[in-house]
Symmetry: C2
Subunit: 201 residues, 2 copies
Amino acid sequence: MTSPKSGEILAAAMELFSRKGYAATSMRDIADAVGLQPGSLYAHIRSKEDLLVGIIEQVREAFLQNGESALADTSEPAADRLRRFIASHLQIIADNRASAEVFLHEWKSLEGEHLDEVRANRDRYEGMLVSLLQEGVNSGEFRNVDPHLTAVAVLSVVNWAYTWYRPDGPLSASDLGDHFTDLMISGIAQPNRSARRVSRR
Amino acid sequence: MTSPKSGEILAAAMELFSRKGYAATSMRDIADAVGLQPGSLYAHIRSKEDLLVGIIEQVREAFLQNGESALADTSEPAADRLRRFIASHLQIIADNRASAEVFLHEWKSLEGEHLDEVRANRDRYEGMLVSLLQEGVNSGEFRNVDPHLTAVAVLSVVNWAYTWYRPDGPLSASDLGDHFTDLMISGIAQPNRSARRVSRR
């Protein structure tokens, strides 16, 4: 996709997929949104699925760069890198609300190798967070949590934000990231041995 | 909805709304799934929206009962009640995967008073969790966290589970609830004063 029109088509598809869902959006809906006949769309794009893949790839690149940045400087405390990871993830969602929603929810409409690729990259991103948590466990900075379940919990908190977070509300993505990081970190930082044990049935 | 057929129609709609999305599911899809002509559906149900409302109401009742149960016995430590709240929420999702997905994602297709009602009940459920967290803060059992943001974080962790949790996998809903509760509780329980402070940029 290289023509100026194709960028406009992608933006229209992003808004429609986010609002109506991918399956319920027709090529006619997209054509109407950019003032073209449905048949003329094919001069600019190959298929509706191609548009979904394009949107997903954009957001995915932002997330993967976030993960790489959090892993890069191993001399930095894991807690600080986790704080950056969480804040940046929330910022990506804040800056790309429609495409983040499409990325997080509509990927399941993909099939075949596109679906495989989405799953592989999702696992890669999650794997970066698992590595970061494992580093913190290994260095003694974090207590001996299960890095996979902890990564899932962290990603749940930051991903679910697309359903309720409004960047024009009172909390910036960075403020929200600080709140969530404090909550998660205090949960995964090595507790003082004399700390009161929480009761468990 | 009282006829045996209407239960079958509701189950078919649940599966279709979960798999294809509400907007992309036609009355013909639902009719095909239960072996009726589309026109005959109206002998049993009023509209597609009515089916969505019915599914949402079922899951909502389960969640609200969970919230009420967690609030009921104020003599029980807040941490134990939070553990029950989290485990039961996950169990509801595990027992009702398709309808939970519809409840958590497809409600945005509702309009007017149905949408208002969904929002009001969602706020009510979140409010129950906020009250529980506030009780723990007031009693000194939890540190002075923001109960609203903490409730959002807890609900994010348990809600996002519908996207990845498989009840037939190695973890029961109860095991998963214990993991998540330990993670969240150790983050919100009053830390020992001498506990190592986590660095913050």
